[in-house]
């Protein structure tokens, strides 16, 4: 077969991380680029996601931070002259863009060949009706389904399927706009909102309660076809696979069922003509071998990333090479290096994937999990029993769970929770066991397979034995061993078995359990993931830790050359792919300096958990216990806690107290920066200004503080499990309501109250120091005023509009803090700047979210420098802060409000964005426009219009110039009451639209629903309930009807300037 096509290959990335399309595509794109590099191809990547590994210099020969739209892709094609394109590695975004490029004839025009699965085949799998008829041709069953284009047709379709039905939108990622309906009213509501996303929706028979099974299939150009992995959802069909706990390999399927579905999957993939990777999802009747094919994804997907990590089979790399024309039999098995890639991995362990939700961050959002995806990240746990894996996994999720048992969680409506699950599904099952529910009862209520429930019940039974203990002496070897084999942590055992002991702290209790089990010889073993269940020796060190074993697969390396990098954990709002980039960059440097890079991480969406990214990969928990286990075995030179964000940073002090060397800033100094009181004392000592704050324990104290500094105030209640609700209050009434929604103020639940500066600029410095001396730094500036979380803000680098005096003060402060905290490694300081006065709001002695951004904009890798700082010889400081750069970079945030039903799409002091992009330009506006288009904005069409609903007076003024510009540029303008008056008074004519709760017409909601508005600028006011509710209705309707929304006046003004000025089409 021809293998020399594709000399210059264009690869489309997936853009910003969002719900339904997350870090997995950094994994797949990065692996594909590495595979193409091995084959000496010239690679061109388009991806505006600056935080990814794939957009790092050297990953592709040419990297474009541009929106993944046909217009921009064509520009790149004109410049780079690729002869081939790959569409399968950038999720639905790349696929949709590829289909459009094909349909517009752009690919043909430039003679570009699509490598891998042909576009025609992709299109057949994307259109459900076409797909169903294709399946029908080969006798494969799909759900009874009717494609409709209107609400009335949908109601008609139910006569074929009967209720309940599931409604799905065609061409939408992750089940967007889909849901269950049991009657005409529900169907009418859902169908009309789904039709806003897609011209075609499907009304399908509901298979609620069936098992959901997936296969990952690979086919080459010689028609060889293998299934790399099958997976079984713990949750029955009806819960989106991205919301489900997923187990690999399947556990409750007989050989007959396994191979029935496997055979059909292969049949489908051959019939469709896939070349590369494909995911096939089934519903399987638990009472017979009846099945339905519910989805086929003709591209790498979230499931394929999971399957890759679950099996050790590098699906993306193999798919890329198959796209070049290789046969599976010609590619080596990357793990054994002596066998080939043409085989099906055999697993001698079980993996559990658990989703991570951050629903607590949003106001108004429904917490129920269902057919539409809401989770923002996931974890994968490996064990040799389901119990071991699920308990690890529950800790990995990182929301305060100690495992399946030992969590004190109150679930008021237990039966309701079991029948209609939310993100609290697993704790609800444990609570039900506590209350005496049987496996049979739980199966009836949840439709979860009895096997999973029985295995969870095993954990519950061990809990009962642990709680019966009255002290350490009762923990005998068989019980301890049993508990450890079932995945109990030392902390969890201590919590259950030593609850009567009031003399020891929780950490001391866990330490005592650890000491006891070590004395009894109960220690874990290290096992390899080798794709062949031990049949052939593995050449890579892809590892996990288990208590089901008597020997280690690998000899620990105790030569002092090991450097352990703690990974980022589950992606969540506030900690995402940017920290994976930091980890990968750190490991590259560690290896180039001659050390052995060992990674500990459990996130299957990451590049850091590719076993070729490091020398040893422990796919393991980032808990004190597990990191100590690994350090006990490997005796590393040290641990790097600063690359993976806050999760590993929190371990630094604990590890250090237990004798583990920390590579970087001394642990005590990390603690000093993390502890508010200690940090303030340091700032006072160094003469550094901070906003005034106090930790208070009563409302009276808060009142007194409010009198002293005045409103507005920033309120930060103490940590609560669902995520602390931080907010700004502008008066006493708001203060009271804020405290009522969080835990009450008390000595046990103190509240941190901080002075809030209005209309202050927020500026940041990202820097690296060595032994207290700053060696490089970069200064960036937020477009929005302070009050928008730095993770949601639009950030400009280098800073464009700050005083030289401010710059100087920032540098000086950073130097003082670096020295005062003896910083070695990366750090980040956030400042408020107002009237040339600077106040420090935060100092993090670790890599920050913006490290990849500034590293890529400056082309100076700050993490490499930081790694050298902790490992290498004395560094020479880099002069200047890159202010002289002749380009401007703008980082914009991606929001996923469309996924979060009913959530108020408004920004505040708590972070809400799920991803980010950054684009470059010759000036600020050019870079801003590209960035905004990259996060899903569309330049409004002039025949449509722009709605301005601009809140407080100052914001109205802020927007006036932009409104005038829009009017001059020929846009139709709509405005709500106050805004319309204000604009009219300043000579801008608008169409006045009435508020949602008004009976007068025209109403803003009607215009939004009718698609008459192409951009909504709605600035929330934080005032009366009526305004809040009206604002919410406008914002939410915009989101639900897919109309771009901006809720910040400064950003809106800049964006309007950008698109009116550049006039991009």
């Amino acid at each position: 077969m021809e293998k020399d096509f594709g000399k210059r290959i264009l690869l489309l990335g997936s853009g910003a991380l969002k719900i339904g399309q997350s870090g997995e595509f950094d994994y797949s794109g990065s692996q594909a680029l590495k595979a193409l590099h091995d084959e000496h191809r010239y690679t061109i990547l388009i991806n505006p996601n600056v935080a990814t590994v794939q957009t790092t210099e050297g990953m592709a020969d040419a990297i474009y931070y541009l929106p993944i739209t046909p217009e921009y892709v064509e520009q790149v094609i004109q410049k780079e002259h690729p002869d081939a394109i790959m569409l399968a590695f950038g999720g639905q975004t790349a696929l949709n863009c590829g289909i459009e490029l094909h349909q517009r004839g752009i690919l043909d025009k430039y003679g570009i060949r699509v490598l891998g699965t042909p576009v025609s085949a992709i299109m057949q799998t994307e259109d459900r009706e076409q797909f169903a008829s294709l399946m029908h041709q080969i006798g494969v069953k799909t759900p009874k389904s009717v494609a409709v284009g209107s609400v009335s047709e949908a109601l008609e379709a139910v006569r074929v399927t009967g209720y309940p039905v599931i409604v799905r939108a065609a061409y939408a990622l992750g089940g967007l706009g889909s849901g269950f309906c049991t009657n005409d009213d529900e169907l009418t509501a859902l169908a009309s909102s789904a039709l806003a996303y897609s011209p075609q929706i499907l009304v399908e028979e509901s298979l609620k309660g069936w098992k959901e099974i997936e296969y990952e299939v690979v086919r080459d150009g010689y028609d060889n076809c293998i299934t790399v992995c099958n997976m079984e959802n713990f949750d029955p069909l009806g819960i989106h696979t991205g919301e489900s706990i997923v187990v690999a390999p399947s556990q409750t399927l007989t050989d007959h069922e396994y191979h029935l579905l496997r055979r059909i999957a292969i049949h489908i993939v051959r019939h469709v003509g896939i070349v590369g990777e494909c995911n096939v999802q089934y519903a399987l009747d638990p009472h017979s071998d009846d099945y339905r094919v519910i989805e086929v994804n003709a591209r790498l997907s979230r499931s394929s990333a999971l399957a890759s990590k679950a099996t050790g089979y590098p699906l993306a790399a193999v798919a890329a090479k198959l796209g070049l024309g290789y046969g599976l039999d010609e590619l080596p098995n990357a793990v054994t290096r002596v066998t080939t890639a043409c085989f099906e991995p055999a697993l001698d362990y079980v993996v559990c994937k658990l989703p991570r939700w951050d629903l607590g961050k949003f106001t108004g959002v429904s917490r129920q999990i269902g057919s539409s995806m809401k989770s923002v990240g996931e974890v994968m746990a490996i064990g040799r029993t389901f119990e071991e894996a699920i308990q690890k996994g529950m800790r990995m999720v990182g929301q305060g769970m100690h495992g399946f048992v030992g969590n004190a969680l109150d679930i008021p409506d237990l039966d309701g929770e079991l029948r209609n699950p939310t993100d609290k599904r697993l704790p609800a099952i444990e609570l039900a066991f506590d209350r005496g529910y049987t496996v049979e009862q739980l199966h009836d209520m949840t439709k979860i397979d009895r096997w999973f429930l029985c295995r969870l019940h095993n954990i519950h039974r061990t809990k009962l034995r642990l709680t019966a203990c009255t002290g350490l002496d009762d923990l005998d070897a068989p019980l301890l061993r049993r508990a450890k084999e079932q995945g109990f942590s030392d902390h969890q055992i201590a919590k259950l078995a030593l609850q009567g002991d009031t003399t020891m702290s929780p950490h001391a209790k866990a330490d005592s359990v650890r000491a006891r089990r070590k004395a009894l010889g109960i220690v874990p073993v290290i096992k390899q993931i080798d794709t062949l269940a031990g049949e052939v020796p593995a050449q890579t060190n892809y590892l996990y830790v288990t208590y089901h074993g008597t020997e280690n697969d690998i000899a620990p390396e105790r030569d002092g050359r090991t450097v352990v990098v703690l990974g980022s954990g589950a992606y969540r709002i506030g900690s995402s792919v940017e920290f994976d980039w930091c980890c990968v960059a750190a490991m590259q440097k560690i290896r180039s300096l001659g050390y052995r890079a060992t990674m500990i991480n459990y996130n299957p969406e990451t590049v850091s958990t590719d076993y070729d990214a490091c020398d040893r990969l422990f796919f393991e928990e980032l808990t004190l216990e597990r990191v100590l286990d690994i350090c006990d075995a490997e005796a590393p030179r040290g641990v790097i806690p600063w690359a993976g964000g806050q999760i590993p940073n929190n371990l630094a002090l604990l590890l250090n107290e237990r004798g583990v060397p920390i590579l970087g800033t001394p642990a005590a100094c990390i603690d000093m920066a993390e502890d508010r009181q200690k940090f303030s004392a340091l700032c006072d000592r160094l003469g550094i200004a901070q906003p005034r704050w106090k930790q208070l324990t009563s409302l009276a104290d808060i009142d007194r503080f409010a009198d002293e500094v005045g409103f507005p105030l920033l309120i930060r209640p103490s940590y609560v499990l669902s995520g602390a609700a931080m907010r700004v209050v502008t008066n006493r009434a708001e203060l009271e309501s804020a405290l009522a929604t969080a835990a009450a103020v008390s000595a046990d639940h103190p509240v941190v109250v901080t002075e809030f500066l209005e209309r202050a600029k927020e500026v940041e410095i990202d820097a690296v120091a060595q032994e207290g001396r700053m060696v490089c730094y970069a200064i960036s500036e937020h477009v929005e005023f302070a009050g928008v979380h730095s993770g949601d803000a639009t950030v400009v680098f280098p800073a464009q509009k700050i005083y030289c005096e401010t710059l100087r003060q920032m540098k000086r402060t950073a130097r003082k803090l670096a020295e005062g905290l003896h910083v070695t490694g990366p750090f980040n300081i956030q400042f408020l700047a107002k009237d040339n006065r600077l106040k420090v709001i935060e100092c993090n002695l670790r890599a920050s979210r913006s490290f990849p951004f500034v590293s890529k904009m400056t082309r100076h890798n700050f993490i490499s420098t930081a790694t050298e700082a902790v490992l290498g010889s004395t560094l020479t400081p880099v002069h200047g802060a890159f202010e002289e750069m002749d380009r401007v970079g703008v980082k914009a945030s991606q929001f996923s409000f469309t996924r979060l039903l009913r959530a108020d799409p408004v920004l505040g002091v708590d972070m809400a964005s799920t991803g980010e992009v950054a684009c470059m330009g010759d000036n600020f506006y050019e870079a801003l426009l590209k960035s905004m288009l990259s996060v899903g904005h569309r330049v409004p069409r002039k025949e449509k219009g722009v709605l301005l609903s601009s809140g407080p007076a100052k914001e109205k003024v802020e927007l006036l110039e932009a409104a005038q510009l829009l009017a001059r540029s020929g846009y139709r303008l709509f405005a709500t009451g106050g805004t319309a008056d204000f604009l009219a008074a300043h000579g801008v004519e608008t169409v006045r639209l009435h508020w949602p709760d008004s009976t007068q017409r025209p109403c803003v909601i009607d215009y939004l629903k009718a698609g008459e508005i192409d951009l909504v600028v709605n600035i929330p006011k934080n005032h009366t309930p009526r305004e809040l509710e009206n604002g919410y209705q406008i914002r939410r309707t915009a989101i639900d009807y897919n109309v771009p929304l901006i809720t910040n006046a400064r950003l809106a003004a800049a964006y309007i300037q950008a698109f009116c000025g550049i006039g991009c089409n």
């Binding site: 085989f343 096997w451 269940a533 031990g534 049949e535």
Partner: protein, 360 residues
């Protein structure tokens, strides 16, 4: 580990290594050849596969028994629907974890209950990955499961395991044509079923039965346990059949016997192939198939006479996976196209056999 199980036993290997485990089958000491299987599904099928006769099966898949064990239902041909023979064939089962709880609509009893009922010992709580790696590195070896209160019987040296598992009398199935004469060296039910489903009649004869004067349209040599060289009468009868032109198909042991009859040699592999993920390739092509395998002996392809050729080769270790005659309609596979358990990708070979019979 399942901690409700409190009866422990020792697994002792020929080299003296010991593993302690917990009994979930019949508590009886036993000895057998240790083999490991990497399949992730199909324990009812594997345990009743006559090719495992006398062997202690080590499952690398960690959790065993998840979907229980079904009833012994029969199909239209009177063959067991879920099992490959009438009883459990392996000497014992060794697992990492045993799932006493099970869940499946077809399940009627637990794996442990089934094993106990058939007096087959089984241990869990053993690091089967460590065990598999040992067998991989040091080769197949004898192992003994020792219960304190059950004496270890001296090992029975069985020269010909095939004699133990083969049918004792001739059995006839179906009335269709062509007529297949099936030499039962330990045949799996699914081989019979796949032939019968294709409309043929099958005359199933004992392994040492002299079929050379029988009336048949095609000859089928089944799978079976042990050393092929021990099946001397089968090889002799087969050699006579090679002089004839009627189609022959063989599977697994049948592949080895066909090779021996043709004049090639077989040898014992270090630890064999047992699992569902072995890929075979047609020599000189890119056509590959994922297959189910269960064998400890192999054909040495270098010793094949000139009029024979390699039909399939193992993609990983290059061992022979099938042979065919260059002119006559004789072929056999080392792997198991009948699957059960395992992938079904090569079932079409049965159709080829039927077609060849019809052509003649």
């Amino acid at each position: 580990m399942n901690y409700e199980l409190n009866k422990s036993a020792i697994l002792r290997l020929a080299d003296g290594t010991e593993y302690r485990g917990f009994s979930f089958g019949y508590p009886r000491s036993t000895t057998g050849e240790m083999v490991f299987c990497t399949a992730m599904t199909g324990y009812p099928e594997s345990l009743t596969d006559p090719s495992y006769c006398g062997q202690i099966l080590v499952a690398t898949h960690p959790m065993m028994g998840n979907y229980g064990v079904p009833d012994d239902e029969r199909d239209a041909y009177g063959l067991s629907r879920h099992f490959e023979s009438d009883h459990i064939q392996c000497a014992a089962l060794v697992a990492t974890d045993y799932s006493a709880c099970y869940s499946h609509a077809d399940a009627r009893r637990s794996l442990g209950e089934w094993l106990s009922g058939e007096r087959i010992p089984a241990l869990c709580g053993i690091d089967t990955r460590a065990l598999a790696k040992k067998l991989r590195d040091e080769g197949a070896m004898t192992g003994t499961i020792v219960f304190d209160d059950s004496p270890v019987a001296p090992p029975v040296h069985d020269d010909c395991l095939v004699a133990r598992v083969s049918t004792k009398q001739i059995q006839e199935y179906g009335h269709g044509r062509p007529k297949v004469l099936l030499v039962d060296c330990g045949v799996k039910n699914n081989i019979l079923r796949l032939l019968l489903e294709r409309g043929v009649s099958v005359r199933r004869v004992p392994w040492d039965y002299d079929f050379t004067h029988d009336d048949y349209d095609g000859l089928f040599i089944s799978n079976g346990p042990g050393d092929p060289a021990a099946c001397i009468p089968t090889i002799q009868h087969l050699r006579a059949a090679l002089a004839d032109d009627r189609p022959i198909m063989g599977i697994c042991l049948g592949n080895q016997l066909l090779a021996l009859a043709a004049g090639a040699r077989t040898y014992k592999m270090k630890f064999g192939h047992r699992g569902h993920n072995q890929t075979v390739r047609q020599p000189g092509t890119h056509r590959c198939f994922v297959t189910a395998q269960n064998h400890g002996y192999a054909v040495d392809p270098a010793t094949l006479p000139d009029d024979w050729e390699c039909l399939f080769e193992n993609l990983n270790d290059g061992t022979n996976e099938g042979i065919r005659h260059k002119q006559k309609p004789f072929f056999s596979t080392q792997f198991h196209p009948e699957a059960s358990s395992g992938p079904v990708d090569t079932m079409g070979l049965f159709d080829q056999f039927i077609e060849k019979m019809k052509e003649v």
